[in-house]
């Protein structure tokens, strides 16, 4: 049974619109992460969280907000979507003191027109 789920799996948005990507994990991990994946860039960290109520900026946070209302849920919010945010977004969870082991969701493909 999938331990990290994402919704929606596919999303088409218009420029300037608001987009919310949701992530749920049943691993009971403290840490959660949002990445985007683009050809030639690998995975880049957008925001992450150490637990409910906390959010931290990753390497490319501009244009994104994050929300961690509970241990299980972590959302990524694009207040004003732009075509440059067209990408595949992955959520992951991991232990706070883990040795690098993260568990990934299936991804959300976002297209901003």
């Amino acid at each position: 049974e999938a331990a990290v789920t994402q919704s929606p799996r596919n999303k088409v948005a218009v420029t300037g619109g608001k987009v919310t990507l949701s992530c749920n994990q049943t691993n009971n991990h403290n840490n959660m992460y949002w990445y985007r994946q683009d050809t030639g860039h690998g995975l880049r960290l957008i925001h992450y969280s150490y637990g409910a109520g906390s959010t931290e900026k990753g390497d490319i946070p501009d244009g994104y907000k994050a929300s961690r209302p509970s241990q299980e849920n972590f959302s990524l919010i694009l207040e004003l979507a732009t075509p440059s945010q067209t990408s595949v977004y992955f959520c992951a969870s991991g232990d706070l003191l883990g040795g690098g082991e993260q568990y990934f969701g299936p991804g959300t493909r976002l297209t901003v027109l």
Partner: protein, 114 residues
């Protein structure tokens, strides 16, 4: 600057061949290293990790990786590949103090010809 580099964007081999996927890092101090696999259209899956001890670590499905401090490397190997090993492989690293933040390489696409 902390970087993880994977020098080969693509590697093509025949089924049954051995393969080595290369990863080099530039970090100081203690470091965690790991490898992930991504099949087409899927999320990443953890393969193996190294922090200390035996520099050769075993992972799932016959994969192993060897850490070398002198070469700043953590190459992934498999003795005999199967067509189902075709995927993109990512090397990742984090500092010992970074509380879970990973830095990923750009990935190597492995193509296994049946």
């Amino acid at each position: 600057t902390q970087t993880v580099s994977q020098s080969d964007a693509h590697v093509t081999v025949f089924e049954g061949d051995s393969v080595e996927l290369r990863c080099n890092y530039s970090y100081g101090g203690s470091i965690y290293l790991s490898w992930y696999i991504q099949h087409h259209g899927r999320g990443l899956q953890f393969l193996l990790k190294y922090y200390s001890g035996n520099p050769v670590v075993q992972g799932v499905n016959g994969f192993e990786a060897e850490f070398s401090k002198s070469d700043s490397s953590f190459h992934l190997r498999k003795a005999s590949v199967h067509w189902s090993d075709s995927a993109v492989y990512f090397c990742a690293a984090r500092r010992g103090s970074a509380l879970g933040r990973l830095h990923f390489g750009a990935g190597t696409q492995l193509i296994v010809i049946p």
